[in-house]
Symmetry: C3
Subunit: 129 residues, 3 copies
Amino acid sequence: MPLVRISVSETRDAAYRARISEAVHRALVETIGIPPDDLFHVIAAHAPEGLIFDRSYLGVSRSSGFLVVEITLRRGRALEKKRALYRAIADNVHAATGTRIEDVMIVLSENEPSDWSFGAGIAQYAPET
Amino acid sequence: MPLVRISVSETRDAAYRARISEAVHRALVETIGIPPDDLFHVIAAHAPEGLIFDRSYLGVSRSSGFLVVEITLRRGRALEKKRALYRAIADNVHAATGTRIEDVMIVLSENEPSDWSFGAGIAQYAPET
Amino acid sequence: MPLVRISVSETRDAAYRARISEAVHRALVETIGIPPDDLFHVIAAHAPEGLIFDRSYLGVSRSSGFLVVEITLRRGRALEKKRALYRAIADNVHAATGTRIEDVMIVLSENEPSDWSFGAGIAQYAPET
């Protein structure tokens, strides 16, 4: 279910982008119980000047390795689960690519079970009874 | 009102993308009462490796024709309306382009009337009285 | 906190995009109290045919200068604040770039404090106590 959108610099090659995607997916599986085959990511590459960010907001030191992970998912994860997810995404991305954990921004948007169709024109999470 | 973002492979040409957009818009008009002139779409083309998806999650058989339709719209459509919308988008996209209905993923995100400005710096759905 | 996604035509050069971004950020600071260093924008350039819009919906006259500003932010801004934000974004973008105010579409999506990690794997707006 989660739909993940990852915005990275176009200077990062395809292998790097694939490792980021795998790292984020593994964190979703490990921390909030996403099934391993529930994998839907869009990776968007931007010109370096298309990713604009402050280098120290909230005391986090960001560098040119900055990237944004946006995740749309069903409402209802507890705060503790979200904290574990953020930690795992940052750690996994760092381990897989060397990206600094300070450079991994994450934003969640929650919606409802009726808001998903995984193909075939069906609302799989809100099935007809 | 809906803002529609369609993510497709860059291997799909401009004519294909235009047909997808028309097909999605027609489904919105036919099933949930969107006015015909309420048309706002962003079509983003991605490198094939930028669209990552499982080929069988929930028993839906997806292929390289996979695409994602994200729709931001005002809260309040009934489940039955959403089901009709998913069916119509998949069917219309298939009829217009030959894309398999299994390859059409749809994700809705709902917001409020006050969250829209259609230009001129005005909140057209939450007007001053 | 706001995450701002600006979708413009690829015919607009990097200097134009930077001015749009600065103009939107200034509006957020001036009208809804965003800290000046709370700056996170993704600017996506699209082929002209990738931005599809009606030229007169709701009586607003749009032109080829059309662009979309999507803002994800924490829930809770009052309607009056949102109205002031729309006005300021349109006016600032016009002053900075000459873009017509009718060509500036704005869509907000609200989420919760727990939905943000600004790097380092931490939920900075929902800290552990």
